[in-house]
């Protein structure tokens, strides 16, 4: 069973539907016991970092996520959920994340060309770092495949955990992984067949379900 962590942020209908569509059992839950019993966890998120991080903390689920990640359970953050896996974010002030991955969430505006629109919205391509083997999440993906992004901030100072980048006039972190903790800046549940294959791959990491 995959548990999609419900901490009061965003719409989880598509995410749950996408797992059902690929034949994986998935539930949306805010119950710590359900999250502890699940084989895999998804940390979703949309909106502002500070609000979402506060909700995750206040719900008591931040601690559960940290413990479960520490126990080796596969965990994937999506979009803002990925950003919250990091140490901190500089979105409107400085805010602490879960600290499961090294690095900071910063605005893309200073690194991309001035005539590029912000937020970065739309289908952009995946590139895999040349100095690492391709990560299991991308076992069915090809260099140059398009996935759907919607974001203004991105993960920086995190080279050691980057498993895919995208190019928006500058390289931006598209996906990260450190052992059982993974994250996608893009929305696999909105990225057509390429995205569904990434979700299928996530379901296989750490053993069949």
């Amino acid at each position: 069973m995959i548990a999609i962590i419900d901490y009061g942020v965003g719409n989880l209908f598509s995410l749950r539907s996408s797992f059902h569509f690929i034949g994986a059992e998935a539930c949306v839950s805010s119950d710590p016991d359900v999250l502890r019993k699940a084989d895999r966890l998804i940390l979703p998120g949309v909106g502002a970092f500070a609000d979402a991080a506060a909700k995750l903390r206040e719900s008591g689920l931040a601690e559960v996520v940290r413990e479960e990640a520490g126990s080796g359970k596969p965990l994937m953050g999506i979009c803002l959920g990925m950003q919250m896996l990091f140490e901190r974010s500089l979105e409107y002030g400085e805010h602490m994340g879960l600290g499961l991955l090294p690095g900071s969430i910063v605005s893309m505006e200073p690194v991309i060309p001035a005539n590029f629109k912000v937020p970065h919205i739309g289908w952009n391509q995946l590139y895999f770092p040349a100095d690492k083997p391709k990560h299991a999440l991308f076992s069915q993906a090809k260099e140059g495949d398009h996935v759907y992004f919607v974001h203004t901030y991105y993960a920086a100072d995190c080279d050691s955990v980057v498993i895919a980048n995208t190019d928006y006039g500058a390289p931006l972190t598209a996906a990260v992984a450190k052992e059982n903790v993974m994250g996608c800046q893009f929305h696999p549940e909105k990225s057509g067949p390429v995205g569904l294959n990434i979700l299928r791959a996530f379901c296989r990491i750490g053993g069949a379900i």
Binding site: F13, V46, G47, A48, K117, P119, I121, H146, G192
Partner: protein
């Protein structure tokens, strides 16, 4: 590189897809779920659903359709039509919409955009504007293009983006259904004043119209059309390939 998006638009009335010419004369086309599945399989980058029913029954049929589409189609879904309040946003977001497009609702209550952007984020709020050339400028129309609001379209769009609209769909009333190409002059005028993604709508009659659109106005992010896709006059895979061969970045 960020791909230019191709977006089929489905006008839904009483649970079926319809498309008018110059916003009049509706023809029944197909089942929205079947059509959405076909477009997704063909490589559509996003789907727009406009609810053009007024009745409560029609509205219920629409949300049923939306829920079915969102359960099996995994590309971004934008929903518009009859969005007047935050409750309307809530209603369609819960059924699987990713973005919500507002048109007459924002004209009636301009604070709707800022309230929705605060609650759901800018990326969720799409301004849809029906624009008509008039007296050497551009006017914004309400009620599906039937009512002149007297407002300057460029000023209106600029103010909505300031309030938090994260994308703009520009519907040219003059070009709609005429199939002689997008309204490049109007699009250029808007693109020069807004920094958010702009989606061109109205006038597409051929693959060349899309090439001309993206070549003439590189700041346009997407092209939207309905009838040429519904009636198989242009197949999306052919269009994507044609754009790719013309050097325009697309998702193949």
């Amino acid at each position: 590189m960020l791909a230019k998006r191709i977006i089929p638009c489905l006008d839904v009335k009483n649970g079926r897809v319809v498309k008018g010419v110059n916003f009049l004369g509706l023809h029944d086309v197909s089942s929205p779920v079947d059509l959405a599945r076909r477009y997704s399989d063909h490589g559509a980058d996003e789907l727009v659903f406009y609810d053009i029913t007024a009745s409560a029954e029609g509205r219920q049929l629409f949300t049923d359709v939306l829920r079915k589409v969102a359960a099996e189609i995994f590309i971004p879904l934008t929903v518009g039509g009859g969005i007047n309040t935050l409750d309307d946003f809530d209603r369609v977001l819960k059924c699987g919409a990713d973005k919500v497009s507002v048109n007459s609702g924002a004209l009636r209550d301009p604070s709707l955009i800022s309230a929705a952007a605060r609650k759901y984020g800018d990326q969720c709020v799409v301004l849809s504007a029906d624009v008509k050339r008039q007296d050497g400028g551009w006017r914004v129309y309400a009620k599906g293009g039937r009512e002149d609001t007297g407002r300057d379209a460029i000023e209106w769009i600029r103010s909505c983006v300031e309030q938090g609209a994260g994308e703009v769909v520009l519907n040219s009333i003059d070009a709609d259904g005429v199939k002689t190409g997008f309204d490049l002059e109007m699009l250029e005028a808007v693109c020069s004043v807004v920094q958010v993604p702009v989606i061109a709508s109205g006038g597409a009659g051929s693959m060349n119209d899309f090439i001309e659109l993206f070549r003439s106005i590189p700041r346009v992010d997407a092209g939207l059309a309905a009838s040429i896709f519904h009636f198989d006059e242009v197949a999306i895979p052919d269009l994507k390939l044609c754009l790719h061969q013309a050097g325009i970045p697309v998702r193949l």
